[in-house]
Symmetry: C2
Subunit: 559 residues, 2 copies
């Protein structure tokens, strides 16, 4: 179990753009785009493995994530996206095994989380952005390759002797198809559980008619008609899209980020890392100017429109901290700015929701907040004078495991006492992975409260009112504030990181379950467990000995 | 990480009875029973730890399980059960920490599963047997102690300086409240997530008014009026019960079991362990005689009534194999007997469901089948000539990960080709932990199939018909049967036990989630993961150093 891992010290940068892609080819043809996987063998993110057979690592997935993002924002005309392989003889062999076996536990888990989020994003693009993904399986499609296919809404497979779908993780590697595979098989495609059982234990997978009959793919087509069949299907799907064929996209301009020692600064988001205390102190600034009057103004501002810039910056920061700052276990969330200004932007986001770009921005904010929810870091919101926890930004406090709001002012600080403010954006557009808004999740015991709070939108709620409304956890006054917050953060940083991860994952998502919440809870938890078991990652574990010619040697005790 | 564990070679026997209890006192007073925890310090199941402060180990829980069972069957008059402590100064300190720290990973996981099932059984007794559990917290109630309280439907707590509820696992031991605690907190009691977060990280817990306000308990009462208040509440709950005050219970007579080398035999269930192949071959015999004509006949037969005897035997065998035969990873399920006879019993179970005893028997069968579902062993059903996979027994095949049904007969065997048969018992009384019947879980893709199958109750379905109906996985003929089954079992036994556990847990429970399925999936998976993490179980892990005066030394990387 390589818990030191390969060289993981390289800082991973999640920012990329099509001209820099090494592993994907994006082509556009009117309403249909094609995203072809063409992994460069020697293009691994870290040394120590070759990306053979269109296998992938985090670097490949970062490009995929970028492509999905850009298709949404830069290509409103695209109504369907065909995911396929640009290789002759293989679709995708899944996550690279050498990369996995050489990675630390944390790296494996973090890698799986990001790939999961990317596959979810692809599903959301289909369902909510009306940019429908389908998959053209033009060669063997194994493990993570099939999991990618499963995230699309239609799978067309070549009907030849060579092409099959498979999830060989259990028989081959003693790990799980942990990027949604098991869950999507029985919960999305509703494959009968006994057939799923056979399929997941059969290295060579299933092909041809049986794959269709069992629901593993949607159609099989002779190789000669494959491209044509997929294109026809893509055109049908695109025709059902409400995306405007004649609109112009915006450009996701390069994201400016300055890292200076332990400070990370974007235009609206800053982060100061306190290594001694194990904290990341994150501050989100409200908008500097009033919003444009309407959707046309949003288009004109493009990537400079504050909510979009905010989503991009926060998204990048979350990914950066997760991957590059593993030992920083507590994230402190602050905001700074004017409640009125945030509220004005929220009003525009609500009123112009019919516009395709505004829709995308709302969806991006939703995804970013969800990414925060599933982040295995303790989140503590501090609501202080000068803050603007309003509407969209109030979601940060509602996403936190706990919040502290100063009751009154601090000596020597002449800013008014902090207040929080609800907007329409707190009541629907940003559901969590469990399908509920953060408010609904919070008030499961008393759903009527959510309705009551609707009547208080726009009101400034001071500490007493916010506590009474159940929106904040604790409201110390100026005498207790400093000590109470300091002790809470110190204690939090001192607990076992693992126990906190398990605890937070259990407490954050009460109520209903969705496929997504199942993937992040049940499947990821089991996968993480398996990733710790000697049968997979021990010196004789299947993941470690794969390809060495050695046989794995299992402890046969069932747990 | 004591992966060899303390002496776990002692065979654990789950059979007990009140005269043998060492840790619980059961008292009966008309409609109200009291189950008082009075753990004997030196009464641990294995050497190496003392059960101080009403802490518990598997032995304590085996008695609790037995008491819950007997209250259902032997005491129809009891409508409410008060769970409390017989100790002066403590309610319960939770699972014994020395026991946990000295146990192997498998033991810890298995122990948690059984305690989870027992707490679920207690909740089901409240909801379905109308024997309502409430909890009288008369002293500090920590960890597993509070998790026990959480499983009851009403918690009355002493309002004194000493009594608090707490879940100190995270801060104290770096593990989770894994016996349903986290899930019940936010999903059953719907405690606000930020309060739950604070509560679960606060060693000393919460007491008095705040405990009520936060929903952690239902009422607090001064010590002087505590017993009286609990009794009043119990009487109210009993008054709402439909259990017959004047009926006579049946006696759960000692369960006869013979273990002879690798053969385990009960009256209707036998098991042959094939250590070389890693298999347990389980055969369930159908009834030897026709059922009695009505409920009165069931009462007269008592524990001898075939369905009840079957439930008890299967239940005991599952527990025995899980705990004492860890390396036997594949369970082969067979039946032997007459389909007509099983169907006749099922008809009685369906027709006499209004009778309290018949209701209990149906519920017990349900629980036993659920225990099978959540067992981390591969289940393979073999449907052969002479079998009686009918109704209740067909559930065994539907619970299996995979089934093989012989198409036709075998040379030299003059019994007719096997058939399977549906009864009313397949369509409701035995839901899985996800709340669906096994048929509904199976046909999520096409729910209409379940309705179609209702029209085929009582019909003998041969291999072709059963496959067509989707009830069996594979139907080899006599030429392929032996090889196909042999290879399937060999392959299964060769895979990584851990990967299979994670895979089966993911594939078996598609569809909706319930609190129970969340506990067995999300919470247990996270707990199992934490139970593998050096921060908990490494030489410097919190669980290991607890009480030694050493400080735990955490790897601060968040995963």
């Amino acid at each position: 179990m390589a818990d030191s891992g390969q060289d993981e010290r390289t800082v991973v940068d999640f920012r990329t753009e099509p001209t820099k892609y090494r592993h994907w080819k994006l082509t556009l043809d009117g309403r249909v785009a094609t995203l072809a996987m063409d992994v460069q063998e020697d293009g691994g993110l870290r040394p120590g493995y070759e990306l053979k057979l269109n296998s992938y690592d985090l670097g490949v997935d970062i490009e995929l994530y970028d492509a999905i993002q850009r298709l949404r924002f830069e290509h409103p005309e695209v109504g369907a996206v065909v995911v396929t392989s640009a290789k002759d003889r293989v679709f995708c062999a899944g996550a690279n095994i050498r990369m996995l076996s050489g990675s630390s536990h944390a790296w494996k888990v973090n890698f799986c989380k990001f790939t999961n989020e990317t596959r979810n994003a692809l599903e959301e693009a289909t369902a909510e952005s009306k940019q429908a993904y389908l998959c053209l399986v033009n060669g063997p499609c194994a493990g993570g390759g099939y999991e990618l296919a499963l995230a699309t809404d239609w799978i067309v497979m070549a009907d030849d002797g060579n092409t099959a779908v498979s999830l060989p993780e259990v028989p081959l590697l003693a790990v799980l198809p942990g990027t949604g595979g098991l869950t999507r098989l029985v919960d999305k495609r509703r494959v009968r559980r006994d057939r799923a059982d056979f399929f997941c234990t059969t290295e060579e997978g299933v092909k041809g008619r049986r794959a269709v009959e069992w629901g593993l793919v949607d159609e099989v087509v002779p190789r000669s008609r494959l491209a044509e069949a997929a294109l026809a299907r893509a055109r049908e799907m695109a025709a059902r899209s409400d995306r405007p064929a004649d609109a112009r996209g915006i450009t996701l301009t390069p994201l400016a980020r300055a890292i200076d020692g332990d400070r990370i600064a974007y235009a609206h988001v800053t982060c100061a890392i306190d290594r001694g205390r194990g904290l990341a102190e994150i501050t989100v600034a409200g908008p500097a100017a009033a919003p444009p009057p309407d959707a046309a103004g949003v288009h004109a501002l493009g990537a400079g429109f504050w909510p979009l810039a905010l989503a991009r910056e926060l998204d990048d920061l979350i990914l950066h901290l997760r991957t590059n700052e593993e030992t920083i276990g507590v994230w402190v969330l602050r905001t700074a700015g004017s409640a009125e200004a945030v509220e004005a932007y929220d009003r525009l986001l609500a009123d112009a929701a019919h516009d395709w770009l505004v829709r995308e921005i709302r969806l991006y904010l939703k995804r970013t907040l969800k990414r925060l929810d599933v982040t295995s870091r303790s989140l503590v919101a501090l609501i202080e004078p000068g803050s603007c926890f309003t509407g969209t930004l109030l979601e940060l406090a509602l996403a936190a495991d706990r919040s502290y709001m100063l009751d009154g002012t601090l000596p020597g600080d002449d800013r008014p006492a902090p207040a929080v403010r609800l907007t329409a954006m707190n009541f629907g557009p940003y559901p969590m992975v469990n399908g509920l808004t953060r408010l609904a999740s919070r008030f499961l015991a008393d759903p009527g409260r959510v309705d009551d709070l609707k009547g208080r939108m726009g009101e400034d709620l001071d500490a007493a009112a916010a506590a009474e409304a159940g929106l904040v956890t604790f409201t110390p006054d100026d005498i207790d504030w400093e000590d109470e917050v300091r002790i809470a953060l110190e204690e939090r940083a001192a607990f076992s990181p693992d126990a906190l991860t398990g605890m937070e994952a259990s407490l954050r998502f009460a109520g209903p379950e969705t496929m997504e919440s199942k993937i992040f809870a049940r499947l990821s938890a089991w996968q993480n467990w398996v990733f710790q078991r000697p049968n997979a990652v021990g010196p004789k574990g299947a993941l470690q000995v794969y390809g060495t010619g050695q046989r794995s040697d299992f402890d046969r005790r069932r747990v």
